[in-house]
Amino acid sequence: MPGTETQVTIEEIQPFEAAEEINGGDVVLIDTREPHEYQEAHLEGGKLVPPGLLGDEIEGAAPDKSARTILYCRSGNRSAIAAAQLQAMGYDNVASMAGGILLWQEQGLPVVSTSGMTAEQRERYSRHTLLPEVGVDGQLKLLNSKVLLLGAGGLGAPTALYLAAAGVGTIGLVDDDVVDASNLQRQVIHNTERIGMPKTTSARIFIEQLNPDVNVVEHNGRLDASNILEVMKDYDIVVDGADNFPTRYLLNDASVRLRKPVVSASILGFDGQISTFVPYEGPCYRCLYPTPPPAELAPSCSANGVLGVMAGTMGTLQANEVIKLVLGAGEPLIGRLLLYDALGTTFTELKVRRDPECPICGEHAEEVPESEMGKFPDYDAFCAGAGGDR
């Protein structure tokens, strides 16, 4: 409807005025362009509401009609029309930025651009960058993130698959096993042709075919007290899918020392558990499980069996936790243990609290001096009689 915008008075502000308000906070910033324009460059914090979707999406992006709302587009026309529409809808503190993002950039003001991404990456991750919770900034964070997967088996396979697809820039894989036919019922990154190949190599081949952006680092061996700090130090987040208790306790103690978050899951039969341990922000694995159970209470998947799809369900939940930690979005499972019962299809959430008496992260836990950093207790003795494969 040409001419609509001339019949009502809308407030227009200059880019420098908009910048001052945005820096001052408490502003809802709306980008009234099309998705492909938004993806190329937008103002930080700008929420995309294309003109054709204004009626449907504005209340989600700007729920408070009395809040200060600033609209911008490419050159200032579409945002002026949208501002008039919003006023008609009852928004009473709306302004349109004159000159749009073109004038904003001409004046040297900053934008979030996809300059860090290639054309191929813009295409590959377009469904991510459209999400306000991810956006270009978030995708660049993922591309720069380094995640270590402990185990390239049941849980590690689906976690690696989705983290690789999501563009996590570096994925480290720790495993000393080779692909076996009995793995293929659930370990979806391996295949029949690669039976007998080290799992880390098989996983690398799969990931490289899926996404060439990912740098895969193979740690073909087992984590122990002598190498864990060296292996972990270059990573931002660790994913624990270990099959035995000594490794789980070792990983916990090392991650608390290095203050690295651990996303931890386990599966057996039709049951799964998952939690996210962020040192000193929430409980650690020892706060939850101070001592390992005896063998008869902790059978392994190889002895007890596991529904293959359980690995997928819990592994992809782990990937989701990792991505949220990288993005700083949503509510990770810190201080919460999520139980999944696949037979009943039920989820149960339990609270996990920091234990003030925890020997590792509790109030009386002693600071570990630099000279003692690489020294750990004898976990095999600590877990003697406990379950797991080893």
Binding site: G156, D243, C301
Partner: protein
Amino acid sequence: MATVRIPPVLRPKTGGQSEVEAAGGNVGEVLRALTEAHPDTSTQLFGEDGELNRYVNVYLNDEDVRVLDGLETAVKDGDTVVILPAMAGGTR
């Protein structure tokens, strides 16, 4: 009556049941009622001193009984008691 959720590793001791109804005014009484109905669960839950084994976590609804009143924690009709041992299964 409270509902006790039985973890997979204990189900062979409860005839395969994943939930067992048990009466009791507190968590300890509910668990004792469970062990009376299914005696094989007793040594898995309690040590020789009659205390809960340290490797077994018990929750009343969603809260760890360790941060409540332990075995003395009062149980109401319709409450759920969750027994949770650690699991290590991951990869193989």
